[in-house]
Structure formats: structure tokens, C-alpha cells
């Protein structure tokens, strides 16, 4: 009796949350896939017809935006790695008692809605605004120079919004590095650089990978940055999906694009997860 209860406990614990996820995540995802193979429109209804042409048509039309999204997401992620690593390193190794304070400061921006943060950037970067106005007055930049509506603004916005998601996992990984190992490397006549490259960096890689996961996926599928900071040449696939779903209301196309995006990103993630072991990534993601 006791052992039966013990054996049933995990199932009982998992049931409510698992059921919620099953009904509101798994099923909608399947319905998304189903919709992507339907034909029709709002007026005449939708019928399931294995409409693979939804995929071929939408991908051939919007291929440039797809590639651009992966490009912007990739560049933003790479920038995040470069910018975050030194910070994470410093806090992990030299932060001392103030570690939590620094981490807290890095996370501070998240207490403001990211829509508001992005709009504040738009305001700050406007053609004659707080940044460019004085620069133009002092003749440091030409009068028709603009940052908004360029890919630089969009990638900058993406990097800004997702930087803390890169700092945290790298910090977690670096913090776990046993300083005894580093000391051992010094004892074996490694210079600081060598010690870093050969000991610390490889040990921190799971954190970097976790950070890549948490950056690349949302950055590639973002549309707020592109819409607020970007111009007509910076449209990302997220904007297209949004337009198709909410303005044009062409659900088959919108769902086909979403499904393709999801499959592309999930495949990449599972490849990473397999390589590392899901647990490490999930733990790092917990931070």
C-alpha cells in the first residue's frame, strides 16, 4: 500500500502541470501544424487538404526575411557572447561579496516592460534626439545621418534586450569552476592567458551554449525591435507572421511560417541539447 502510493506520487505531482502543458501547449502546436495544411479564408471557412503549397508558397515569398532573421539573431547572439563574457568572468571571479549586487544590476532593466525599453531607445536614437542632436550640432556626424530604420538599430536593440540572458548562464558556469583547478594550472606553469584558454573557457562552454539557446531563439523570432527601430528593409520573419496573422488574417500562411520557424529552431536546440545533456541546459536556463 505504501509502496503503491510512493510509486503513484510522481504521477500525481506531474498530472496538473503536465495536463496544462498538454492541453495548452502540445495540442495548440498540433493545431498549428494542422492549420498550416488547410486552405481557405475567413469568409468561406478552412478545410484540411494537405495543402503543402502553403509551405512552398510562403517560404519562396518570404525566404529573404527568414534568412535575415537568422542573420540578425546570429549577429546579436554573437555580440552578446562577446559583450557578456568579460562581465560574467569579472563577477564570477572578482565579484566577491558584491556578486549578487552586480547580478541584480545586470537584471535591473527587466523590471521595465521591454516594449517600453525599446520605445525609449527609439526616442533616444531619433534623428535629432538626445544622442544625434548634439552630435549633429557639433558637426561630428553629417546632417542626414540616422540610426533608426537601419539594421544596426535593430541588431543593437536585439543585443540590448537579450544581453542579461547571456550573462547569467555564463556566470553560472564560471561560478562553478573550482578555483582549485585554476590554481593547479598555475602550479603547472600556465600563464594567465593559457590558463584561461585551456581551463576556464572550456569549462564555461556549457554556460555559453545555454546562453546561445536563450538568446538565439527569441532574437531570431522577435518582431518588436524590427517594428520600432527598423525600416522597411529590416523586416524579420516575426513581423511577417504578425502581419499575416493579425492584419491579413491568412491563417494558413501565418501558421506555415510559424511551423517552419519553430521546426528550424527546435532542431538546432535538440542538437545542442543532445550534445550537452539536457540537464545542464535546463539548469542553466533556470537562472
Amino acid at each position: 500500500m505504501g509502496s503503491l502510493r510512493a510509486r503513484l506520487t510522481p504521477y500525481a505531482l506531474v498530472l496538473p502541470g503536465g495536463l496544462w502543458l498538454a492541453i495548452f501547449f502540445v495540442v495548440p502546436t498540433l493545431i498549428l501544424l494542422q492549420f498550416s495544411l488547410m486552405t481557405g479564408n475567413e469568409a468561406d471557412g478552412y478545410a484540411f487538404t494537405f495543402a503543402w503549397q502553403n509551405y512552398s508558397h510562403s517560404l519562396t515569398t518570404y525566404w529573404p526575411q527568414f534568412v535575415r532573421s537568422l542573420e540578425y539573431g546570429g549577429i546579436a547572439t554573437a555580440l552578446c557572447i562577446v559583450l557578456s563574457y568579460p562581465i560574467a568572468y569579472w563577477i564570477a571571479f572578482k565579484g566577491g561579496a558584491r556578486k549578487s549586487t552586480y547580478l541584480f544590476l545586470i537584471l535591473l532593466p527587466f523590471f521595465v516592460s521591454f516594449v517600453l525599453r525599446t520605445i525609449s531607445w527609439q526616442f533616444f536614437l531619433s534623428d535629432n534626439g538626445m544622442l544625434l542632436g548634439p552630435l549633429k550640432e557639433w558637426g561630428l556626424v553629417p546632417a542626414d545621418f540616422h540610426i533608426l530604420q537601419t539594421s544596426v538599430a535593430v541588431v543593437g536593440g536585439l543585443t540590448y534586450n537579450y544581453l542579461p540572458f547571456m550573462v547569467l548562464p555564463i556566470y553560472v558556469a564560471l561560478e562553478r569552476v573550482d578555483p582549485g583547478v585554476v590554481e593547479a594550472s598555475y602550479d603547472l606553469y600556465c600563464s594567465r592567458t593559457q590558463s584561461f584558454l585551456k581551463v576556464v573557457l572550456p569549462l564555461s562552454l556549457p554556460g555559453v551554449f545555454a546562453g546561445v539557446l536563450m538568446n538565439f531563439v527569441p532574437a531570431s523570432s522577435d518582431y518588436v525591435n524590427a517594428e520600432v527601430l527598423g525600416g522597411p528593409d529590416n523586416t524579420m520573419i516575426g513581423n511577417i507572421i504578425q502581419d499575416q496573422a493579425l492584419t491579413v488574417r491568412d491563417y494558413p500562411t501565418a501558421t506555415a511560417l510559424s511551423a517552419t520557424l519553430m521546426l528550424a529552431l527546435l532542431l538546432g536546440i535538440f542538437a545542442y541539447a543532445r550534445a550537452l545533456g539536457t540537464e545542464t541546459v535546463l539548469e542553466a536556463a533556470a537562472r
Binding site: L30, I31, N41, F48
Partner: protein, 422 residues
């Protein structure tokens, strides 16, 4: 977030725990099982929707439908009114007067930003026959209004209760192509799309759509993102009448618009007056009343012009959703706006075209009685072709392309939307 995430090394040496942690040998089976469960759930989901999702199209309303809708409905004493920004004097004077006279309280909300997102917000409720929280809403003619009518989401109006409309409305609004005979809509205001520009940066007079293609303004040109507005301008530039246009016309216009793309800084929706005022844009497609208001409220000196090749004319219409809880009160409000003195009050603030010609005399009287700045503003309103267009002006203005079927709507949007989305 706690710092003590260290795993005890002693625990890590436990092989059972290690196995449990890695779980690799369960992966394949569990994935299969997940797919099994998922397929089961998916089958359920598919069964739900296997027959597809029903279409929303309905048959057009008849006189019987009108009677059927309005029998048994009475005044409730309250009204929820959804509309666009700056469509009511700031002190809400017409609404207060209305409440005083009829006892109907009005909850006035300027919640509509653009038609597609408004339609997107209310459609699920309407499709499920639920109230959208509003009894009266102002919708522009276009694809969304077309859908609202075709899918039977609007209440057919009872014209016996709209005497002021019958008496005071300008005849041109009684037979608009999108709602002949005003079965579902009566206009609130009308407006034009033309070219707005900032004379601080633009040193020559702007008179033609072709000037939006002028390389001199490269990087400072704004065009509207809305496919109906954008497409119309492309067609007008080529001398095509949008109201009778077909797919070949759309393709030609789209090609011309694509050629313009390298010069365009942004495809705007509502925020172009801000960009014009602060110099991010110098010349842009714009709406007549917006520029008037921008100059009046912010002291900018932007200019607006209806181009020689033509401009777009559109109507913002009052409609009653079919699930309104207070339709009779809504109807009363609609008729109230057609009293000339009330319409005059609205026009003096909104500065868009009024559907009530009799307002002209009233505003003239107000202007004669006013002094100073007020007098100047009122006289400007009187003489403005943006508020009281002449026949010559009206001849230049064209409605949006007529898109009655879902296929036509999709084809049109697929032609013009990609231009603004790179």
C-alpha cells in the same frame, strides 16, 4: 535567485542518481511515447476540427432582418462608444449635452488605432456571438468593414429612428459603394489622404504624387503601410482609377511603388505627424485632419495638399455590432450627431469633412461672433477645402479599390503588403 546551486559531490558519485540525471537511455522510448500521446491528443484535436473551420460569410440583411433585430429592444440608459483618437472635443461637450437631454450616459473610449487590429480584437467575440463591450463603433470603409458586413457582424440600422440623418445628411453619403442605402452604416466623418510636408526642410511647393518619387528627398520620404492607401497612390500616379481597378492595374502600381522603395525612409501607420514635426521625415502621405490638428495643438507648421493626380477619400462610419447590449441608445447617439449644431461642434474640433452641409452656416455664425485666435481658427475651418470640399476637389478624390470577395482581398493585399515589408 539563490546562489547555493552547488551539487554535493557525494551525491554525484551515486550511480543511480547519475543514471537518473542523464536519463539518456529513456530518451528514444519516451520520445516515441510522447509522440504516441501527442498523436492521441492530436487526433482528438483533429477530430474537433477535422471538418475544417466554418466560414463566416452570411447572406445580406433584408427588411425582415431589420424588424427582427429591433423588435423588443428598448432604451437602456447607457452606451459604450468606441472610436478613434481626437474624434471628440476634449471637454466632451456634445456627449454631456446628449446625456442631459436623453438621460443616456455615454462611456466614450478612444480605443481604435487602426482597422485591422480593431477587427482582430472584436472578431473572435463576434464570431462566438458574444458582446464586444461596445454598442457603437466607428470603422473606416475598407476590407475590415467589408468583412464585418459580409459576415453579418453588424446590426442593420432602423432608419425610422434616424430622422436627422434622413433630413441633414449630404446626399453623396447615402449611396456609398461599400454600403448602398446605408443598411449598416452612416458616416461619422470623411477625410482625405494626400501629401503632408514640413516646409522647414522642403523648400518648394508640393503639388504632385510624383514628387514623392523625387530623389532629392531620398531617405526622408514616408509612405503609408496600409495596402489600400499605398496601392491607391501607386495607381493614381499612373492615372488609373482605383475604384474600377483590377489585378493587372495593381501589378503595375506595385512595380512603380517598388521602384520608389530605396527612397522611402519608413512605411508609416499613425505616427507620421510626430516624424514630420521632428524632421525624421520631410514629406509623407498623410490624412487631412491630422495635419490641421497637429498645427493647432503643437504649433507645428506642417502643410497638407491634395495632389494633382488625385487623393484618397475615405469615410469613418458609425456602426452597431450585432451583439450590442444597448443598440437603441446607440441609434439615438448616431442620430444626435446629425443635428446641425452638434455636427458643427464636432467639425470645429475634428477638422475633417462633415456629412452635414448645414454646419457651414452655423460655423459662419460662430466665426462672426468670435474674436482673435478663435475667430481665425473658425474662419480657417470655413474656408478649408479639407473640411468643405468643392466639387472640383471631390472630383479628384477616389475611394479605395473595391474588394468584395475574399480572393480579391487576398490578391490585393499580397500585391501591396510585401512592398512595405522588405
Amino acid at each position: 535567485m539563490s546562489m547555493d546551486q552547488r551539487i554535493d559531490p557525494a551525491l554525484l558519485r551515486d550511480p543511480a542518481l547519475l543514471r537518473g540525471l542523464t536519463q539518456r537511455r529513456y530518451d528514444r522510448r519516451d520520445i516515441m511515447r510522447m509522440f504516441g500521446v501527442g498523436a492521441g491528443l492530436g487526433a482528438a484535436g483533429l477530430a474537433l476540427a477535422a471538418c475544417g473551420v466554418k466560414g463566416a460569410k452570411q447572406a445580406p440583411a433584408t427588411q425582415d432582418d431589420v424588424a427582427k433585430f429591433w423588435t423588443g429592444k428598448a432604451k437602456n440608459g447607457h452606451l459604450d462608444f468606441a472610436t478613434w483618437a481626437l474624434y471628440m472635443p476634449t471637454d466632451h461637450a456634445p456627449l454631456t449635452a446628449f446625456t442631459k437631454e436623453t438621460g443616456v450616459t455615454v462611456n466614450y473610449q478612444e480605443v481604435i488605432q487602426d482597422d485591422p487590429s480593431w477587427y482582430g480584437k472584436i472578431q473572435p467575440q463576434l464570431a462566438a456571438d458574444k458582446s464586444i463591450g461596445y454598442d457603437l463603433m466607428v470603422v473606416t470603409n475598407g476590407v475590415e468593414l467589408e468583412k464585418l458586413i459580409q459576415f453579418g457582424y453588424l446590426a442593420p440600422l432602423d432608419h425610422s429612428k434616424l430622422p436627422n440623418f434622413a433630413q441633414n445628411a449630404d446626399p453623396i453619403y447615402r449611396n456609398e459603394p461599400f454600403d448602398k442605402g446605408n443598411v449598416y452604416t452612416i458616416p461619422y466623418t470623411s477625410g482625405y489622404t494626400g501629401i503632408a510636408y514640413n516646409p522647414t526642410y522642403v523648400k518648394e511647393p508640393i503639388t504632385k504624387i510624383a514628387q514623392l518619387w523625387d530623389p532629392k528627398y531620398a531617405g526622408k520620404i514616408g509612405m503609408m503601410k496600409d495596402p489600400q492607401e499605398l496601392g491607391n497612390f501607386g495607381m493614381l500616379l499612373l492615372g488609373i482609377n482605383p475604384e474600377t481597378s483590377t489585378q493587372p492595374d495593381w501589378t503595375k502600381a506595385a512595380a512603380k511603388l517598388r521602384a520608389q522603395k530605396p527612397l522611402v525612409r519608413a512605411y508609416v501607420q499613425q505616427d507620421y505627424t510626430k516624424s514630420l514635426a521632428n524632421g525624421d521625415l520631410w514629406i509623407c502621405m498623410g490624412w487631412s485632419g491630422d495635419i490641421f490638428q497637429e498645427n493647432a495643438s503643437n504649433g507645428s507648421n506642417l502643410k497638407f495638399v491634395v495632389p494633382e493626380e488625385g487623393g484618397n477619400i475615405w469615410t469613418d462610419n458609425m456602426t452597431i455590432p450585432k451583439t450590442a447590449t444597448n443598440p437603441v441608445d446607440a441609434l439615438m447617439m448616431m442620430d444626435y450627431f446629425y443635428r446641425p449644431e452638434v455636427a458643427a461642434q464636432l467639425t470645429e474640433f475634428i477638422n475633417y469633412v462633415t456629412p452635414v452641409p448645414a454646419t457651414k452656416d452655423i460655423i459662419a455664425k460662430d466665426a462672426a461672433a468670435a474674436t482673435g485666435d478663435d475667430k481665425k481658427t473658425l474662419e480657417a475651418v470655413l474656408t478649408s477645402p479639407l473640411v468643405y470640399p468643392t466639387q472640383a476637389d471631390l472630383a479628384k478624390l477616389k475611394h479605395y479599390a473595391t474588394l468584395k470577395t475574399a480572393d480579391a482581398q487576398k490578391a490585393y493585399q499580397d500585391t501591396f503588403l510585401p512592398i512595405s515589408t522588405g
